[in-house]
Symmetry: C2
Subunit: 291 residues, 2 copies
């Protein structure tokens, strides 16, 4: 017998009484406006002897209070579209969009971590670049991903942030970066397996997002047993090994990921859809002739 | 507040009493040894007025009875490894493995469908190749994937099987196939949106598996809202658009996917791991020097 959690009911009658049905609430932690709880929706059953059968909590609750309109938009169901970013669309529309986001200070939190000003207690590994040696560009640091509980090894999820600032996304990787990528990949695997000796290197999956949430190159390092959801899906995630393989197989020395078309999913509520891809689809924004 | 189902407890005490805690069992259907149910683990809570709050079922149960050792192996947790298939490993070990599987008659069910002998009631679209015209290689057919309920549009999942038999997997795609791939992609999108007019072409995600379950080229066509699980994960799924983009960006006219390294996940119980990758890791099987 295979037992799975059934889907939530989205019927009005259920949603109206949902808050009354939550009981046995346990606080797991809190950070600013974010709070986490375990809870049960119902009373424990009694067995044939009339004794109560203790049940583990069947609900995880995330409370954001007070929340903003952005929080509501982020968690609301939204339509999703597949778009194809050609080299020309990248050059004309996406690169300027990335520039705008970087200029708006969206990366300050990343630079704060890299420069040691904030969140240093979260940095579980750091290899500093050294301007004077031959590893000038090889600095990176590892942090636990926000979605990891920081203890379950089978759902290990780390973020590798590179120290260099010239690589905004996978688009900036070129064939000349292959040795750098291979070194960084090897060091990320080595440091993760040293920190978590229960894990072998071939149990770690490395991938990047395109589009990423922020335009500073970072690598997701996850345990292969981590349940694969939207974060690992084709249309969002690109395997780091396959990117290296793709760059290696390109013939021209100046070949780069800026030369390829990349397809990915965007939410209809996202700026990328509303400012770029929907106008391109409607013909109210144009793609210049490929040069 | 965001409410999610909490993880099941795998503690012995809970598992021992699990069968006693299942109640309000509803049969959803049955087919041979396979049976599906909804059920509740516990009693409905009472609200502040002492009234019972009706709860939807919180469990989905799949019962296979009687089951075989294969069923148990399939649903048992197995370790997973990441492997990197270089062009040399492909040529020396994987291609012969594929040949062996094809020779063993593993594709008879595919050829039966293509040749119209079985499962014709499942074929929802077919474009025949015609040897006499210019679309000799363009035949394909669309079937619902076994995991689709055949009605929920947001979880639409079709399989596109090509009629030509010379492409065993993504490894056989070369730069010269780009026009063929683009035509097939367009026809799959067009026929799917005609069959399901609620869906637009940019709401469909096309991907292939590597490694696939069987060595006859087939494309997964899914709705972008389908929950992304292991079938769409990096390390298993490759976006068809990105493969086309990768081939287009290769310079040599004879470039192909046989020239690149591909990394993917394999189960430790799989033949690929046991016969090829584990021996390669242990040094009991060798990789020849790249020629």
């Amino acid at each position: 017998m295979i037992a799975e959690r059934a889907a939530f009911s989205a019927e009005d009658a259920h949603l109206r009484t949902f808050s009354q049905s939550v009981d046995h609430i346990q606080n797991l932690g809190a950070n600013d406006i974010y709070n986490w709880f375990l809870a049960s929706t119902s009373n424990p059953p009694v067995n044939s002897d009339g004794a109560t059968v203790v049940q583990p909590p069947d609900l995880k609750l995330n409370l954001i209070y007070p929340c903003t309109a952005q929080h509501i938009a982020k968690y609301s169901a939204q339509g999703v579209r597949i778009v194809t970013e050609t080299p020309t669309i990248y050059r004309d529309h996406i690169r300027p969009f990335m520039q705008e986001k970087r200029d708006a200070g969206r990366l300050n939190w990343v630079f704060n971590i890299i420069e040691g000003r904030t969140e240093q207690e979260d940095v579980i590994f750091r290899e500093h670049s050294s301007k004077s040696s031959d590893n000038e560009d090889e600095g990176f640091l590892l942090l636990p991903d926000l979605n990891w509980d920081r203890k379950t090894i089978a759902s290990l999820h780390l973020l590798g942030l590179v120290e260099r600032r010239d690589i905004w996304s996978v688009r900036d990787l070129s064939k000349t970066h292959v040795p750098w990528l291979k070194t960084m990949r090897a060091k990320m695997l080595e440091s993760t397996t040293k920190l978590f000796p229960q894990v072998e290197a071939d149990q770690l999956k490395l991938y990047v997002h395109y589009q990423p949430t922020y335009y500073h190159f970072h690598v997701h390092v996850v345990h292969v047993m981590l349940e694969a959801g939207a974060t690992q899906a084709t249309g969002k995630a690109l395997g780091l090994d396959n990117i290296i393989g793709q760059l290696e197989a390109m013939d021209r020395e100046d070949a780069s990921m800026q030369d390829v078309s990349l397809s990915y999913t965007v939410g209809e509520a996202s700026e990328l859809w509303q400012k770029i891809y929907e106008p391109l689809k409607n013909g109210t924004l144009n793609v210049s002739a490929a040069s």
